[in-house]
Structures are given as C-alpha cells and as structure tokens.
Amino acid sequence: MVVSPVHFIAVPLLAAFLMPILAKVNKNLLRIIPGIVLTYLGYVSVVLMNRVATEGTIIEVLAGWSAPWGINLVYTPFTGFLATLMIAMSFLIWLYSFKFKQVDNQPALKYFILQMMLTTGSVGLVLTGDIFNFFVFMEIIALSSYALTAFYRDRNGAEAAFKYLLIGAFSSTLILLGIVLLYSQVGTLNMAEIAVRMHDVPTPMKVSILILFLVGIGIEAEMFPLNGWAPDAYSQAPSPVGVAFAALVVKAGVYGLVRIVYTLFDLDGTGSFLVVMGGITLVVAEVTALRQTSLKRMLAYSSIGQMGFVLIAFGIGTHEAVFGAIFLMFNHAIIKGLLFMSGSYLVYNTPNKEIKYLSGYGMKMPLISLFFSLGALAIVGLPPFAGFWSKLYILLAAADSALYGLIALILAVSIIEIVYYFRVVGRLYFGKAAEGSIMQKPTVGGVIAMSILAIAILVVGIYPDIITGYIDNAASAILDTDTYIKNVLGAVNEITPVENIIQ
C-alpha cells in the first residue's frame, strides 16, 4: 500500500465517524479501533520520515489541483518530526486510556471519537500548506477540546469549557480576520505563495496582520496574557485529555506561531517580540505555579512556562536556538505527558486534587511516585535526563547571541521550578502518611504507557544522539524559507491543473 501524508488526516477522520456505527456491531471495537488507526499512522510516519531524510520534502497535492490553486500538504523534516511526535503521543494516550469509562460505553465512545478528532486537527494543522486549511484544522482542535474539557458532568467542566470557548472563539475570529486581510493584500491562500508576495505588502498592513495572527494563535499556544483558559481546562478535563493538551494542542499552536513568523512574514523585530513575550510568559507562569495548591493546576502553569521557554528560543532565531526549541518541544511532550499521567493517579481520590494530601504516597504507590519523580527531575533539567539537553542547548544559543540577561532569567526561573516540583516529590517520599486514603490501582495500559515515556526520557537523556539528527534537519527545514517556497511551488510544473479540469 502506498503511504502518503493524506493518510494522517483521512484515516483518523474516517475512523472517528465510523466508530459510532462499528460500536453497535461490537462494543469492544470502539476501544480497539483508535489503537489500530494510530498504529497504522505510526507506520506511515516511520516510512515517511525515512523517505524525507533521503529524498527531501514531500509535497502532497490534493485532488489534482497543484500548489497555488489547490490545497497541499507539506511534509518537511520539521512538520514530519512534529507529526510523528503527535502520533506517538496519541498512541500512548490511547494506551493509557484504553479502559477509560469501562462500565459505560456511551461516554467512552464520545471520548474516543473526540480524541481522534483532536489528533486529526493537530496533525493536519502541522502538515497543511494552506492558510485557510490551517484555520479549519485549528477549529477542529478547538471544538474537540471544548467538548473534551466539558466531559465530566459532575465537575466544573462546563464552566472551564465555556471560558475556553469564549477565548477560543475570539481567537479564531482574529485569525479569520487576519486571513481576510491577508487575502485582500496578496490574493492567495497558499503559504509559500504568500511568503513570495509578502514583500510587496505595505509595512503597516503587514504589522496589523501579524498582530492579528500572533494574538489569535498565541491563545492556542498559551502565550501570556492569553492563557487564562489553560489552568482551568487542564484541571477540569479528564486526565488523558490534559496529556493531549500538553502534547498535541499546545504543540500545534506553537507550530502555528513559528510557521507564521518564520515563513510568512519577513519583519524585523518579531524575534525580539517573541523573546520578550516568552520571557514574561515564563516568569509569570512559573511564579504562579509556585502558589498553586492543586497538582493539576501546578502542572498546567508549568506547561505554560515551558511554552514561554520555547517561544524565547524560537525568538532568538539562530540555528542552535531553534534546535534547542524543537528539542524542548519534544522533551516537553514526553516529560509533561509522564507527569500528567502519573500525577493524575496520585491525586485520583484526593479532594480538589490538592498537593497537601499526597504525603507519604511514595511508599503506598511506589511505581507511580517513581514515575512522577523521574518526570519532575527531568523537566527541571537535571543532567542524566532528557530535559537537561534542551535547556543546555537553549542556554548555549543565548550565550552565543550575547543575551546574558536572558540566561540569568532562565536560570533564576529554573530555581523556582525546582522548588515547586521538589516540594511535591519531597512530600511524596518524606511526608507523614495520612490515614485512610484510598489508592487507585493503575491500569496495565497506563503502566505500559508510562514505562515507555520513562524509558524514552532516560534513553534520550543518556544518548541524545539518537534524536538530534532528526531535530537538526527539522531546525534547518523551518529556517530555510527559500527551500520551502521552492519545494511547494516547484510542484506546479508536475501536474497542470487544466488537464484535470478536462478529465
């Protein structure tokens, strides 16, 4: 069977809408199908990653209409890397939530359908080469996220979801307005062609459009001060959804920002803007995380802080910095995934998910506590774990660009990070155990998913070379706008659309 990037969108979308019918045939199918789909997509991404490494960027022309007219999917080393990461994380989330709502199949069906939609939207947003498609995929992500946030009826999910929906609808309005203005200026929706024609757009117009995009996508990417939705959504949604937010939704948002800033616009000063906004996001989020009493809210703020860190690195804009940023996106996905998965078992039965009830859990739930501690050590960037390398590369890049104040800021914030993570870890192992707390036994799938993530963190930490080659190609791909344009628009000559009209 011929694999192509289209499968990333077509297969999960088809599966999502077939699942209600197939679930009527056999109620176990609704749990098994997402796994089959994601395994197949994992195979597709491995094949395509190998192909992209040898033959270069893959352009998939949809419905025979070539680049400037039709919609295309662009599989560069960068987008491919992110798509592969998202598929892998979706697979682990599926494994983790395999027995989700085991007694009641109706909610489980909704949950699995929405998770498939979330995967479709995130991967589609990363792969598309068309700015309006970008908007559509962002809306697919947003709609499934709203529904997943409001999943539990007994929690305050609806309130968190409505808050998220208000901000999200506002963000999509801004993005749509940006697309309208952009189309009125350049007369095309293809990202590569927009990049070509952008030079003729007057600067004030360019700045206005860029601001609309930055604010609109910044909401999905959790950029300060647009991240008010995140802590509530993370804490009210079911725990696998928190993992999906950290590993898919936010990654897609950051990708959107980077694609818009690096490829579409050629303005000076956007980099410094990203550094400043990232810095503010980092400091505000980490200081707020320190004050949190609920574990999930703490993890959510930590997630926002990490995204600020990623924005700083993308703002510096040198090859080393972008390398560090992509490495950090990868690390954040696997480490925050592990933290959310293990953390939600720790607080499974505690009131309000509060940290203070976790005393002495290290002895009662040894495996889960071990996973959580491993994640905590890794995310603050201690040496033998994965988080160390990304932090090191970003700091080195900042040093190369002579941004010493920034280095001081990052190190100072790291100390805050260590304080609030070690507070939890310390309580787990050295706190006095409270009486009568009920332990939740993790599912087999959950333990497997967490073990895979923990092993990934250790392996990447000890041998970073197994992943740096891919990240290096990815960094070159996002920085090289000319090659992107040439690859996309070069496909024009291969199929002439006129022939397809006659067909």
Binding site: F132, V136, E139, A142, L143, Y146, A147, A150, R153, N156, A158, E159, A160, A161, F162, K163, L165, L166, A169, F170, S172, T173, L176, L177, I179, V180, Y183, S184, L189, D232, Q236
Partner: protein, 128 residues
C-alpha cells in the same frame, strides 16, 4: 456633489456594516452578562467578518463565478467575474461558526442546569 458614484457609496455602506457588526458583537461579548447574549455576540462578530470577506471578493458589476455558457459569454463580452474564493471560504466559515455556536449553547444549558442561573457574574466556582 454630482461626482459621487453609487457603487462607491454602496461599497462604503457594506464595509461600514461589516465593521459595525464586528463592533456590536464585541460590545455584546465584552459588556453583556447573560450567557446567551454573549453567544449571540460571538455569532454577530462572525457575521461581520463573513460580510467583510464577501465584500473584499466583490467586483463592481461583476457576474457570478459560475462556469456556464451564459457566464462564459458574459466574460467574453468583458464582464468580470467576482472572486469565488472568499465565497467558498465564507461557506466553510459559516459551518464552523454554526458548530461553535452549537457547542456554546449546549455548554450554556449545562451551566444553567448546574448553577440555576445564566448570568456570568453569578457563576464563579473557578476563578475568572
């Protein structure tokens, strides 16, 4: 005053209406306290943007972009076709807006059942 072109006036009216709708919607979303009114405000913003998008693709005295015999003969006579791309996009955007409104209204119903009120200033279990 005889220089004023009716088409120009019309286009000013359309663009003005679009901006006006966006501002009315923003007013409703930011000022109103009732959840339903906020959802209506979101839809009004959407409508304004759709109108703006259609107006951008419109050409004065243009014909509809349909690939038919009549359309082709009109184009041969020198009549321009309006840009079909914004119209296609607006169709998609309307569908998306419909989806968002539906989800929003279902959340409003859930909130109302949970709190027995639909006023946003009386729902504050989570920090706003």
């Amino acid at each position: 005053m005889e220089n004023i072109d009716i088409n120009q006036l019309l286009s000013i009216a359309v663009f003005g209406a679009a901006v006006g709708l966006i501002l009315i919607g923003l007013y409703a979303v930011l000022i109103k306290k009732h959840l339903i009114k906020i959802v209506i405000g979101l839809s009004i913003i959407d409508a304004g943007i759709h109108l703006l998008f259609i107006a951008i693709g419109y050409i004065n005295n243009g014909t509809s972009p349909i690939f038919s015999e009549k359309g082709i003969s009109l184009v041969n006579e020198g009549v321009k076709m309006v840009d079909p791309v914004p119209q296609a996009l607006v169709l998609t955007a309307i569908v998306i807006g419909f989806g968002v409104t539906a989800v929003a209204l279902s959340l409003v119903i859930r909130l109302y059942r949970h709190h027995q009120t639909a006023r946003i200033d009386q729902i504050k279990t989570l920090k706003w």
